[in-house]
Symmetry: C2
Subunit: 215 residues, 2 copies
């Protein structure tokens, strides 16, 4: 009981900070995206693909959350983007306060789109609003087509689902139509895109969606 | 500060129950394994393969933890094994109390090996001892060879690492030697096995290990 009460309090405080950040994003005209997925579903690879296509068109910032290592921020720093790494030291998700602190290291006046790459986890980041305007959940074909049914809160909280690693479909028992059906069962009307970050497939459509929503 | 204190208290209580369970397993001569991984790394598929090979040789029990659905228990119930599904209702890991409750539904006198399939999550299950004798972490080749470095506590807590989905290696940018190197960097001496649950590769060696450790 005590745990639940404390959790509620923590979430309430998180929501307050998230609202503060959202207000700031709005004032500055920054479009923000919270990227969530299992470990290894392809968040960083998709960001690399996006940066390659959009770095010359819009000012991009990326806040990267990881339990350990700065590897992801290093991978992204080769692009013309502002990156900040958050090391959570064991914490299983980002929260609004971590993002607020990270934002201090970004020049917000030189920013059009801010990506927040969450910790790889299909459960814990669900209830933590980071003040984002769009939440994108990435699920890879290799995880199996039943994942939306097994982790429904996360998929239900998303605005867009990206099915990544479609290049591997011929070698897998997974069925992409079944995965789409399961996604829509959890969230009717959910926008679904298909990509292969490894082969660069489907990234243009994702970039078009981001630029469209940004306006 | 309050959160950390409460967490310590919760973990202390968990450890106490885990010790109770461990004592009971020992009395009954049951060998127990806690299976942890990211969502979709292949825990259930590997268990299907193990059941197929060992169901006629030893008495198997499986406790399956999921955020939602009884799909995994259903997949495993086609074998001659005792299965119990735990639905965590949003919780991101199993704890010793959930396992203790589930054990009441199993005939422990007809049990040689008990598998506990944890919730798919590379962070939260780490500190929750379930009274197991062996912890096996499954990591799939598709998740990328850097995962041990990015989620070190979980890999450090494991006794055995199973690299699954090796059949996909020719189609991936991941390097299995690099993954092994990273696993051993986090835990020197870690026992590493390679499998493809989809193709049935490497499962015999895993079964041999389990039967050897059981004795």
């Amino acid at each position: 009981m005590k745990v639940i009460e404390l959790e509620k309090k923590v979430l309430k405080r998180n929501d307050e900070i998230a609202e503060e950040i959202r207000e700031l994003y709005k004032q500055k005209g920054i479009f923000t995206i919270n990227l969530v997925s299992s470990p290894g579903a392809g968040k960083t690879s998709i960001l690399e693909n996006i940066c390659q296509r959009l770095e010359s068109k819009v000012n991009i910032g990326i806040i990267v959350g990881d339990v350990e290592t700065e590897n992801d921020a290093k991978r992204l720093s080769k692009f013309n983007v502002q990156t900040v790494q958050i090391i959570t030291n064991g914490a299983c998700h980002l929260d609004a306060k971590m993002v607020k602190n990270a934002m201090e290291k970004i020049d917000l006046d030189k920013l059009d789109i801010l990506f927040i790459e969450n910790v790889g986890n299909l459960v814990c980041p669900t209830n933590y609003d980071l003040g984002e305007e769009m939440r994108i959940v990435i699920v890879s074909t290799t995880e199996g087509d039943d994942k939306p049914l097994k982790y429904p809160p996360m998929f239900h909280s998303a605005d867009v689902a990206v099915i990544n690693k479609i290049d591997l479909l011929p070698n897998l028992p997974s069925n992409i139509d079944e995965m789409k059906k399961n996604l829509l069962k959890i969230k009717p009307g959910l926008k679904i895109l298909e990509t292969s970050a490894y082969k660069g497939t489907g990234i243009d459509a994702l970039c078009d969606l981001l630029l469209l929503k940004k306006k």
